[in-house]
């Protein structure tokens, strides 16, 4: 997907060769749902569906970049919750909510830096470091709140706006998500700084031999992922008007799954923001559709898992066929 490709159809140019399969799958599901439920293709439903994944998608962006660099982060759920808790506590202590949010995001960046330290300087594996961070951050959430959600109904409307406000007909949260995606997709594809992320993840030795400070790259991607968790946590807080210490349990699997469906590899060097977001859209679309069709809960998981497997298999065949069908 990295090769500079010039003679391509408009469609594959729009979506990058790698993502066409996912787009197809999503379009099929979309059409099927439009026929299956009269409520599906309504503005409200679209809005609800978009809101359901737009904030998490910010975390997906961070995770994808981290995966490309060869890392992984299991702590995303607890760090997101911690951002809510820190900002919430500060706000309750009288700090201006914007400043409180900045401090919370900085704290998340700090956690990312500590994880990055253990990974790059000490030399431990991302998996184990972020697992420990996941447990510790959850503990901090509990400690800070006594396990009870913080009610932040008093947050000023100007602040809540980022969670529940709209710009024209589009919710602010979705705008933030779109901007994040577009910006990072561009950065990752086009800037030299982010290309180093690919190099590091693809072959750390080769990158290091080319004078890339791979440890710094890994450190920064680790930190970036945590920072974006912080941002997501703040938007959640504005949206929910509360800070929940138990928020985001199990989020990591969902987020990693989205990135992997979108073409990221757990061994690094591969992946794209657009693909990962399409992965998140797919997962979210399936969940929302099952809920809308009022499928029995006892069947939902089975159907969800099967669609996931079928989609990935189909996509895999498309990618393989494209690879076999020559690359001009």
């Amino acid at each position: 997907m990295i090769a500079t490709t010039q003679h391509q159809s408009l469609l594959s140019r729009l979506f990058g060769a790698r993502e066409t399969g996912l787009v197809l799958i999503i379009m099929v599901l979309f059409l099927a749902m439009t026929f299956a439920s009269p409520h599906f293709l309504t503005w409200t439903n679209m809005r609800a569906m978009a809101m359901a994944f737009s904030v998490e998608a910010i975390v997906v962006v961070g995770m994808t970049i981290l995966l490309i660099s060869g890392g992984i982060d299991l702590s995303v759920g607890s760090v997101t919750a911690l951002a809510m808790v820190i900002a919430g506590l500060l706000f309750l202590a009288g700090v201006n909510p914007w400043i409180a949010s900045l401090i919370a995001i900085a704290a998340c960046a700090g956690i990312g830096a500590i994880m990055g330290f253990f990974v790059t300087v000490v030399g431990l594996h991302h998996f184990i470091v972020t697992l420990a961070a996941m447990v510790i951050a959850r503990g901090l959430c509990l400690l800070g709140t006594g396990g009870r959600p913080l009610g932040l109904f008093e947050l000023p409307d100007s602040f809540k706006w980022i969670g529940i406000g709209s710009i024209g007909p589009i919710p602010v949260a979705i705008v933030v998500f779109l901007v994040t995606v577009v910006v990072f997709d561009f950065l990752l594809r086009r800037t030299t700084a982010f290309r180093k992320v690919f190099y590091t993840g693809s072959n750390e030795r080769a990158a290091a031999y080319s004078g890339i400070r791979t440890k710094r790259v890994l450190f920064l991607t680790t930190m970036l992922c945590s920072t974006l968790c912080g941002v997501a946590g703040i938007i959640y807080m504005a949206r929910f008007g509360s800070a929940q210490p138990t928020f985001g349990v199990g989020m990591e699997l969902n987020v990693i799954a989205a990135a992997v469906i979108g073409g990221a590899s757990l061994s690094g060097g591969k992946g794209s923001i657009l693909g990962a977001i399409l992965g998140a859209v797919l997962l979210s679309l399936v969940s929302s559709s099952l809920a809308l069709l009022n499928v029995s809960v006892y069947w939902q998981d089975i159907i969800r898992g099967s669609i996931l497997l079928a989609a990935v298999t189909f996509d895999h065949y498309l990618v393989k066929r494209r690879a076999a069908g020559g690359r001009a």
Binding site: A48, A52, E56, S242, Q244, T246, S287
Partner: protein, 311 residues
């Protein structure tokens, strides 16, 4: 004012919950359905299979898309639901909360079993059984509000009324029998005189009994909610008793509140609802009560038997 309380054909009521697969909802929805049938209404069970607030909100908003008359909602968290509930109410949908509340929203009623009352009952039962100067311990599940309330209320009640009762252990086991096994094993080791255990749910209670048996000790175990295993352990005398919210009534009355909220024309109360413009059907809090399950009546609480022939 409406003269009969009946649904129009196709009038639908939704019960929306989180972690839909949890057995707790089963008898609640049975009550909900029974009431719906009595009023000639359609009943739909919805929500999210996950423990995920974002997904529950999405499912709630999708319920709104299908324009039901009312929703009986178990909001996973209070504040995040304020805005969605208010939007539903503004759109003319009656919303009642149950088992967990969103007090700052415009929901018309909240129906629950009183966790404080459960805690108080459990405390008194412990004191009655092991005396008022003994050692006791609790398991908990931090972050889940009704479980939290059951635990903190019991501790507070003990401190206030029975200062000689000593809290020697407090462990988070998060409904996991294996974690409860570990925690209770350790507690029994550390506190040979541990006399009683209060557990806010049944999953941890299963692990606790297994640990007590493994340690050949017999502390008094009292817990909230039930599972088939804890029922059997109650019958076998290994668990002292269980306190179970009256789920069927919760669902039935929950439906009635939702229904009434959707048919306010039937009510014309002596207050300012007409001038202030709010729904006359307003109840801050309805207590559906709880059942005390012991050896004697355990047989009536076998969910399998109850569910035979229903779905």
């Amino acid at each position: 004012a409406q003269d009969t309380l009946r649904c129009e054909p196709g009038e639908t009521y939704v019960m929306n919950v989180m972690v839909m697969g949890h057995p707790y909802w089963v008898p609640v929805f049975q009550g909900f359905k029974q009431a719906a049938e009595a009023f000639g209404c359609e009943a739909v069970f919805s929500g999210t299979p996950d423990y995920d607030i974002t997904k529950q909100i999405a499912s709630f908003e999708q319920d709104l898309v299908t324009s039901p008359k009312g929703i009986l909602l178990h909001p996973m968290q209070a504040d995040p639901f304020i805005d969605p509930i208010n939007r539903a109410v503004d759109a003319g949908i009656s919303v009642t909360t149950f088992a967990a509340d969103s007090p700052k929203s415009k929901r018309t009623a909240y129906i629950t079993s009183d966790n404080l009352a459960e805690a108080k009952f459990a405390a008194e039962e412990i004191v009655k059984t092991v005396g008022d100067s003994a050692e006791y311990a609790v398991l908990e599940n931090p972050g889940q509000s009704n479980h939290d309330l059951r635990v903190t209320a019991l501790i507070a009640y003990m401190e206030k009324n029975y200062p000689n009762m000593k809290l020697v252990g407090r462990q988070a086991t998060n409904q996991d029998p294996n974690a409860a096994f570990t925690a209770v094993s350790a507690m029994l080791q550390a506190n040979p005189n541990l006399a009683a255990l209060w557990i806010p749910e049944s999953g941890s209670a299963e692990g606790a009994v297994a640990a007590a048996k493994a340690a050949s000790k017999k502390p008094m175990i009292i817990h909230a909610d039930i599972s088939p295993t804890t029922l059997e352990e109650i019958k076998a005398g290994n668990i002292h008793m269980a306190l179970n919210p009256n789920q069927g009534i919760q669902g039935f009355v929950g439906f009635m509140n939702t229904f009434l909220g959707a048919h306010p024309d039937a009510i014309d109360p002596f207050n300012d609802y007409k001038t202030a413009g709010y729904n006359p059907m307003q109840i801050p809090f309805v207590d559906n009560g709880f059942a005390v399950i012991t050896k004697e009546n355990a047989e009536s609480f076998v969910l399998e038997k109850y569910m035979e022939g229903r779905n």
